[in-house]
Amino acid sequence: MSATVGVVVFPGTNCEFDSADAVRLLGAEPRMLWHQNRTVGDVDAVIVPGGFAHGDYLRPGAIARFSPVMEAVAEFAASGGPVVGICNGFQVLTEAGLLPGALQKNAGLKFVCAPAALRVETTSTVLTRDASVGDILNIPVNHFEGNYTCSPETLAELRSDDRIVLRYVDNPNGSVDDIAGICNAQRNVVGLMPHPERATSALLGSTDGLVLLGSLLAAATV
């Protein structure tokens, strides 16, 4: 039986179609979850995709965290369900308190859309279980506020608990400790700034996103 993956859609989300395409490509079934929904239904995993939820007004994710669907996503995560926030979705998850830290404006104060080389730092998460530590993945970034920051205590904890999932080989945005993605303590919620759904076709330049999204689907059907 193939997995069903909920794709959260806020007004202003724009990567929902691309995320759904990638899910379909991997043989699973995407299901759009409108932000007003009070439940995620019987999905096996949740993607909070990229975009500009509520226009990123005030600050990315600051309004989206109050959408009813986010309570449902938090419950789903608390019950162990795999949740991945990509780009704006990562920002939403930090605002919602599902992941620590925050994403601030890029060093250089410019939007950056470019390929990025990522190093896999741990495989004990729902996003990296099928990858190998040390793998270098070529996956694009596309953001203005991707500069990850957190308190020194949180950073120490992320390091000691092996919760830094992906690091940039060549840091494009000033993130502390070159962090591109992290996970929660239970390792079932992952946030990352790069877009694995954009690295799913050789014609488009990379297929390195498949191992990440494939991991998510594998985690979803456990």
């Binding site: 007004p11 990567c15 500009f52 226009g55 990123d56 104060l109 939007f111 694009p140 954009r198 076709s201």
Partner: protein, 742 residues
């Protein structure tokens, strides 16, 4: 009051008289305001229409030609493509961020008005020189505005151009092109029909921003004191636009709208009168029902406001509830503001009546007269002094004959545009096979409803060259069309349709009208010869500052098709050991209009000539080689000539090249047309040459790729590192490290 109202609104005395004749009585203030915006140069094309008629517009695949919100062509597989290009020059000169942002917003609405989902934006940008602080401020603001709006609204910006030249110092050019896809059967036109149907205004409330934008701002020249025109620039809200796009596409999918029209230039006046006159009906508009941003707005302000992110949908009364429900879901404001009324029949069409719940009828005009009766001018035109129309040459200023340091001149012409396009999301929707920075853009063509890949791809490019057109606008424009064809050829695409954005100076100057007329003829010649229909266009006049016109700058957007996309095109790359071959005729020994000549302050002369037949053969052959995966790299020869072409290939790949058979700087920098440099695996060289020979296309073997130097025998010998540094460093070195806004 010293000045009559009509003159303050930008209408001439003759135009005011004509309006009174149409109405059979003196027009009131509101009516004059409505005519002034609709009869503005920007909306009515009153100076250019007479010339635009000469462009070829027909082909079997054209579904909608010029005159609608966008051109639409049938690309097969049940898919239609909508395409349009627009200018937002003057707003961007005054307020770069918002000017550029609202330019993107406006053209997106033109595309989804046709029922298409916008899938790509492109931005041909032209600014003053990099050493001018104000030009740098404008460039940074414009790029930020495109980035801020385009990325947020969720439409990728997949290409464009960026040019810096003194001719744009007081008047930058910010053009924007948009492409959308739709299932053929969903095509909708912006027309009202069905007496009793309702006109529903969707989106933002109406404010005092952009009042008279088309007449005051877009249809007159600039001088230094014109920052007081700032209130005529609108402010964009990409989040509102994103919701509006989704709501409108859902309304169209549900079959709930009879017609739909965006509100752009001339606002509600344009949208109501256009939908009514296209449908041969009338409309009563209740101005008091229009949601407003502020109290105390006059009727003329409501009717001419250019507040952004608004659409007018014509819906049947029984469908209203469903329409409001969809709008509510997307948090899009919707208000019934009008009713479709009967036309009296005959040619007169219906009346556009502006009413107020309390004050009664405020304006009552024949709807069609706002468009069809607009003045048509055949303005005086003559060639610039000294231009010989028989030999097509003009006087040469500062004739430079020698070239002391070809290597230095070559490096000075290199410029990597990635500083600009890294700020644009160019990958959304997973279609971008070749993004910005190459010759042409290539997008996978997928079905707009199902997402199913057709295995085919759309090629896109924008092109302009003011230097060529300043020398000879007719040949120059034909050369631009030719260059665009080669940009498509190197990504394997063949052309299907063209749109143009004609950026010219003050039409009241006879030389400018001559440039416009000649440019249209050059475009018509090339399009006819190449079998490419013109499906839409935009004319931007009064591009002048302090009385000096910009160089004529027609910009074209060319859409093409790759019928079988199996491998990505190789791009402008070199591979170690690859053989370098020029496909196309030997260069004409002519530097007039070239980037090198301009760098020496030289203007005038006569352009290289273009042989349409030879050119079409070259383009077809190159597309065939790319499609067959027969070459390792390809780059067409354009601005900067063969020297810049090879240097850019070196810069893109970090691989050197050794080139011979370039006799002097004329051969190195000539922008003689119809040439493409390819890098070929030695083992496939014979096969490639055979393909060319069979097509009757000339080839010249010029050298070999490899090593860590770019050497052109007897002329240039520089390290690859120096080439890369010069190319990559130009923009980051000049443009700031902070944005002006956003």
């Amino acid at each position: 009051m010293s000045e009559p109202v009509h003159r303050a609104l930008g209408l001439t005395d003759d135009e005011a008289r004509q309006i009174d004749e149409i109405l059979g009585r003196p027009a009131n203030h509101l009516e004059l305001a409505m005519y002034s915006v609709m009869w503005s140069e920007h909306c009515s094309y009153k100076s250019s229409r007479i010339h635009l008629k000469r462009l070829p517009t027909e082909a079997p695949w054209v579904l909608v030609g010029p005159g609608e919100n966008a051109g639409v062509i049938d690309v097969g597989d049940g898919i239609a493509v909508a395409i349009r290009i627009e200018s937002h020059n003057h707003p961007s000169a005054i307020e770069p961020y918002q000017g550029a942002a609202t330019g993107a917003g406006g053209i997106l609405r033109d595309i989804f008005t046709m029922g298409a989902r916008p899938i790509a934006l492109m931005d041909p940008l032209r600014f003053g020189p990099l050493d001018d602080p104000r030009s740098r401020w404008i460039a940074e603001g414009v790029v930020s505005g495109i980035s801020g709006y385009g990325n947020s609204v969720g439409v990728p910006t997949v290409g464009g151009e960026v040019v810096f030249d003194p001719t744009y110092q007081g008047n930058p050019l910010v053009n924007v092109l948009c492409v959308g896809v739709l299932p053929v059967e969903r095509l909708v036109l912006g027309q009202a029909s069905g007496v009793g149907n309702l006109a529903v205004l969707l989106g933002s409330s109406t404010g005092r921003d952009g009042i008279g934008g088309v007449s005051v701002l877009a249809s007159a020249g600039f001088d230094d004191a014109d920052t007081d025109k700032r209130p005529s620039v609108q402010v964009g809200d990409p989040f509102e636009e994103k919701r509006l796009i989704e709501a409108c596409l859902e309304l169209l999918d549900a079959g709930l709208v009879v017609g739909i029209q965006d509100l752009g230039g001339a606002g509600l006046t344009c949208a109501t009168s256009e939908t009514a006159s296209r449908g041969g009906v009338g409309m009563d508009v209740d101005v008091s029902a229009v949601p407003r941003r502020e109290a105390g707005m006059e009727a003329f302000e409501v009717m001419t406001s250019e507040s952004q992110e608004r659409m007018l949908a014509i819906v049947e009364p029984e469908g209203l509830e469903a329409v409001l429900a969809i709008c509510d879901r997307w948090e899009v404001r919707a208000a019934v503001v009008g009713t479709v009324t009967a036309g009296p029949g005959g040619s007169d069409g219906g009346r556009l009546r502006i009413v107020d719940a309390e004050a009664g009828v405020l304006a009552d005009v024949p709807a069609a007269s706002l468009h069809d009766a607009a003045p048509l001018y055949d303005r005086p035109r003559h060639a610039p002094t000294g231009f010989n129309e028989d030999t097509r040459t003009g006087p040469v200023t500062n004739p430079a004959t020698s070239c002391d340091d070809p290597a230095a001149d070559l490096l000075a012409l290199l410029c990597d545009p990635s500083w600009v396009f890294r700020q644009y999301d160019h990958q959304l929707f997973l279609n971008t096979v070749v993004g910005p920075g190459g010759d042409g853009t290539l997008l996978r063509l997928r079905h707009p409803d199902t997402g199913a890949d057709t295995g085919r791809a759309l090629g896109l490019t924008t092109d302009g060259n003011h230097r060529w057109c300043a020398v000879d606008p007719r040949v120059g424009t034909a050369l631009i069309v030719a260059e665009a064809m080669l940009n498509l050829a190197v990504v394997g695409a063949s052309p299907l349709a063209l749109v143009n954005c004609l950026n010219f100076g003050n039409p009241e100057h006879p030389e400018v009208m001559w440039q416009l007329s000649e440019s249209v003829d050059g475009m018509a010649d090339a399009c006819t010869a190449f079998g490419v229909p013109v499906v839409g266009g935009n004319v931007s006049l009064y591009n002048e500052s302090n009385g000096v016109d910009i160089d004529p700058t027609p910009v074209i957007g060319l859409l093409g098709m790759v019928d079988d996309l199996t491998v990505p095109p190789p791009g402008p790359r070199l591979t170690d050991g690859g053989r370098l071959v020029v496909i196309g005729p030997a260069p004409q020994r002519e530097l007039a209009g070239s980037a090198w000549a301009a760098s020496k302050g030289q203007r005038g002369g006569g352009l290289p000539s273009l042989d349409f037949g030879v050119h079409a053969d070259v383009a077809r052959t190159v597309a065939q080689l790319i499609g067959g995966d027969m070459v390792l790299g390809a780059h067409d020869v354009g601005e900067g000539g063969l020297g810049v072409t090879v240097a850019e290939m070196v810069a893109h790949s970090g691989v050197g090249a050794t080139v011979a058979r370039v006799s002097d700087h004329v051969d190195l920098f000539s922008e003689s047309p119809s040439r493409v440099v390819v890098c070929v695996d030695p083992e496939r060289l014979t096969a490639v040459l055979n393909v060319c020979e069979a097509a009757g296309v000339e080839t010249t073997r010029i050298g070999v790729a490899g090593g860590d130097r770019l050497a052109v025998k007897g002329l240039v010998d520089v390290s690859v590192a120096d080439v890369v540094a010069a190319w990559r460093g130009r923009l980051p070195g000049a443009l700031g490290h902070g944005t002006t806004q956003g």
